[in-house]
Amino acid sequence: MKCADSDKIVFDYIGGNLDEEKVKAFESHLLVCSRCSRYLSFVKGTLSVIDEARVVEPDPLFAGRIYKKIDSTPAFILKHRRIINIAAAAAVVIFAVFTGMNLAKFSSAGYLSPGSAIESDILFADEMSIEPIEYYFLSDND
């Protein structure tokens, strides 16, 4: 048996789900492979963490802490928490849409859109092409 094969059946070995032949092959491999032997110990140790987690110590104050939290939250909020959450989410969406609309309005006035500079350049260019350059320099712009 190779180490890769041994790795694949280690769970079944620990769980007692292997037939006799496979158990023999696995255990024979362990006798000659210290790496797989240590890996078996590692997996056993890891799965034993689940066994430890299943042990829940008694806690006589547990219920009291729950009641404290329930009692400290206004009944209205406790009862209607879902509706309040939905209303809060809706308010955020409405605010975002409103802000987005205002930003769009602001940009269409020509201050923010990337094309606005080009538009104004075109305007000025048109003006310059209409008005001869000499007149432009002679005009009272100062």
């Binding site: 790795d7 790496r35 110990s41 590692f42 997996v43 963490v49 987690a53 829940v56 729950i66 406790l78």
Partner: protein
């Protein structure tokens, strides 16, 4: 006859809970506290976090008792709520959770190093086991994780799991088979990466 009596008792308990009866709620807390904490431990590992989440779950049970329609048994309803709440808590606290886990890993590595072991092939410690298990379970897809936690942490039968998750028995078998395979693969990866 026993089952009938159990159902009747449960119906009385649920009716009392729905009317806000605190004694009924206390009975439910007492009866299901350990189960709910075990399920939470499957999701978060830490005892303290599991108890915090469990408290939130019972508050949720108290709050939404009126909406319990009785389509399922009380235990099924509570297990479903526990799983959903625990999953939501992990999602909402993903950042803190990652920091906690990496911090825990860092502290434990410091302790291990200071104990003087430097061999690349040293025996694994309890901390290694906890980290490895957390690593492997967290990598499971959520449906496999749910089935695995209900089966291994709460010792529920395949039928009970099928009822809670609303899936067929064969789906439960398939989920647990794949979970086992994925866990094996993850643990092997973890071992090669960290302990060899």
């Amino acid at each position: 006859m026993n089952k009938l009596n159990q159902k009747r008792d449960e119906a009385i308990l649920v009716a009392a809970l729905k009317s806000g009866d605190r004694d009924a709620f206390s009975t439910i807390v007492t009866e299901y506290r350990e189960s709910v904490i075990r399920i939470c431990r499957g999701y978060v590992g830490s005892k303290e976090d599991a108890e915090d989440i469990a408290q939130e779950i019972f508050i949720e049970i108290y709050r939404s008792a009126a909406s319990f329609r009785g389509d399922s048994s009380l235990s099924t309803w509570i297990y479903r709520m526990a799983i959903n709440r625990a999953l939501n808590w992990v999602r909402d606290n993903r950042k803190k959770f990652r920091v906690y886990r990496s911090g825990m890993a860092e502290n434990e590595r410091v302790l291990e190093n200071s104990a003087g072991e430097n061999e690349g092939d040293a025996e694994s410690t309890n901390a290694d086991h906890r980290k490895a298990l957390r690593f492997a379970i967290d990598k499971l897809p959520s449906n496999q994780k749910r089935a695995f936690i209900l089966n291994k942490y709460e010792d529920l039968s395949y039928n009970e799991i099928a009822d809670i998750l609303g899936i067929s028995l064969s789906s439960v078998e398939s989920l647990l088979f794949r979970a086992k395979r994925n866990l094996q693969s993850s643990l092997s990866t973890y071992y090669k990466k960290n302990l060899l």
